[in-house]
């Protein structure tokens, strides 16, 4: 299907129509950041006339700009998921409609690539993640601005979606250039064709110029911070395995695990059993490899007793395990861990040090 166009006025109507089948989630601007919030109704919001609504309103939702503060994974690999009840084979059902998540950026879509290799096949599947991937609708969007911490180009990504979306929106001011990315997306464009018209070549040109301009901003960002490109990361963590850089970088780590929870690709979890009114209930909870007992066994042996070993492990997993096993780096350049870390540990700097030490 060719490029389509949807006007600013038509987008809320489309999203309202999608509410019939989906719970629509939109990024909302709060201060300097963006957070995913469920859309109740554009109409209701208009009537109440609240000045600073916390839920999406026609004034505060964000299609373009940059990624939301929370990682997209939270909707697919939930922080706390009930995974088993008693001894029943059936998977505990999810309440409510599937989700339509709007304004998803390219960095979070790469998160899907990583998590898909973990949770879907080839041998075992996580039925909860798989179902969410099948049911949920992704309306992604180009980045129209850049954060200081953005470095997606280093990981061979562009600041606009190229795969793993159903429909992509490119905000060009007067409206959005629209591109389907899946059969599901194509069917939706057909079904709601009244809202769309074919994009003009001038509109597509505007989009392309904007993409080039944002890409250039990320490039400058990367140059300013000396972030290495991923081709130079091959093998560096193993080569620096015994280097003092890990101890030095871990000096300010407080073992909070924020880098893990905020990361769009971190997938580790623990299983927690509880008795709920005498019934056995099992939860799958996000876990963090920075926490001391992460790899400890029952007898007390711990392969990574020191905090710096666990920090090194995080980099080994992302930049050594994943490229060797799944042919991709488990980092998207979203920069969330840089902003989340109370110890100001900067992943860009750690990678830079790794590459520089190998070159010496």
């Amino acid at each position: 299907m060719d490029h389509q166009f949807i006007s600013r006025a038509n987008l809320p109507s489309l999203l309202s129509d999608l509410q019939e089948a989906y719970s629509v989630i939109l990024p909302v601007r709060k201060g300097e950041s963006r957070f995913y919030e469920p859309l109740t109704s554009f109409q209701a919001d208009r009537q109440t006339g609240k000045e600073e609504p916390q839920s999406p309103s026609e004034n505060n939702y964000v299609i373009g700009e940059v990624r939301a503060s929370e990682p997209l994974k939270a909707f697919f690999f939930q922080p706390k998921q009930r995974v088993a009840e008693n001894y029943q084979d059936a998977t505990p059902a999810r309440a409510g409609k599937p989700l339509c998540i709007v304004g998803v950026k390219a960095c979070d879509l790469k998160g899907f690539k990583v998590l898909d290799t973990v949770f879907i096949g080839p041998d075992y599947e996580d039925p909860f993640y798989k179902k969410a991937r099948e049911e949920n609708l992704i309306i992604s969007a180009d980045c129209t601005s850049v954060l200081d911490v953005c470095f997606c180009l280093s990981l061979d990504l562009n600041p606009y979606p190229q795969d793993n979306f159903d429909i992509n929106l490119s905000d060009i001011g007067e409206g959005y250039v629209v591109q389907p990315g899946s059969d599901k997306g194509e069917r939706l464009l057909e079904r709601f064709s009244d809202y769309f018209r074919e994009a003009s070549s001038a509109q597509i040109k505007t989009r392309d110029q904007q993409r080039a301009s944002v890409t250039e901003q990320v490039r400058k960002n990367i140059q300013a911070n000396g972030v290495p490109v991923q081709d130079r990361l091959a093998g560096v963590v193993r080569e620096n395995y015994e280097h003092p850089l890990w101890k030095e970088e871990a000096e300010t780590c407080v073992e909070c695990g924020a880098c893990n929870t905020i990361c769009p690709t971190c997938h580790c979890f623990l299983l927690l059993d509880q008795l709920d009114n005498r019934d056995l209930v099992r939860y799958r909870l996000w876990d963090s490899c920075l926490i001391k007992d992460f790899a400890e066994v029952a007898g007390g042996a711990n392969p990574r007793p020191q905090l710096w070993m666990r920090l090194r492990n995080r980099f080994e997993k992302k930049f050594d395990f994943f490229p060797k096993v799944n042919n991709m780096y488990a980092c998207t350049g979203c920069g969330r861990c840089i902003l989340a870390c109370p110890g100001k540990i900067d992943i860009r700097n750690v990678l830079k040090r790794n590459v520089e030490n190998v070159r010496k």
Binding site: V83, D89, L270, L271, A298
Partner: protein, 274 residues
Amino acid sequence: MYESSNPYRPIRTEVLETIEETPTIRTLKLKPDERISFETGQFIELTVPGAGEAPFTPSSEPSVQEALEVSVMRVGKVTERIHALKAGDTVGLRGPFGSGYPLDEFLGKELLVVGGGCGFAPLRSLMYELFRRSREFKKLLFRGGCRTPKDFLYRRQIEGWANRDDLDIELTVDEGDGDWRGNVGVVTTILDGLKMDPDTGVAVVCGPPVMMKFATMKLLDLGFKKSNLYLSMEKNMSCGFGKCGHCRIGTYYTCKDGPVFRYDKISDYPNIWD
């Protein structure tokens, strides 16, 4: 391969019997509501309702599908609760997971089994299978050690193996007592003078990490090839199917790619014994 559509779900399982083996080890005979078949060396996750799960390698005969046995050392929260279980109690069971001993690769060869302490549990299951098929191997040898005679898991049974004509066996304890008439010393002290060719022979090692480390080093000194050593690695195996991330060794997950590893596959990774 696990057949449930929900891999997190435990199968309801009845505790048929509990046996006190040593002051710290108990064996549980378990009957799952659904038949499960395991290959020797694979492991299961045992759930104590409300308390959590822990991984164990069955110590019983793989060919018996109606019930299976696990021998559990009391070392932590879950194992404490397992030791409190009685016949008739209900537990949960998931699995089997991982890859067990590749018996086909041992066929026609001289095979040495080295065990220590609670490592006798997985190895008993292996020995049942080796005895059943003993004619298919060129020679079977067993070298086992424990801390003291009191800690000797399956002592009577294993001492009884000395009467078999298809097995060359020697046992040792780190510290003897008045009754012990065998060798005293760590397990590496009974690895000298093996009547087998280390160049072509295969060795299986299972036991506490320190014992495995020193036994492996000793076997390499004796001339065994890295690619002929098979080790049972103990890591924090939680989900059992390579998703939760806790049991990674290098590019492997112990739960999925192990727990039995050929030594040359993991020998280059740092800290594997920790």
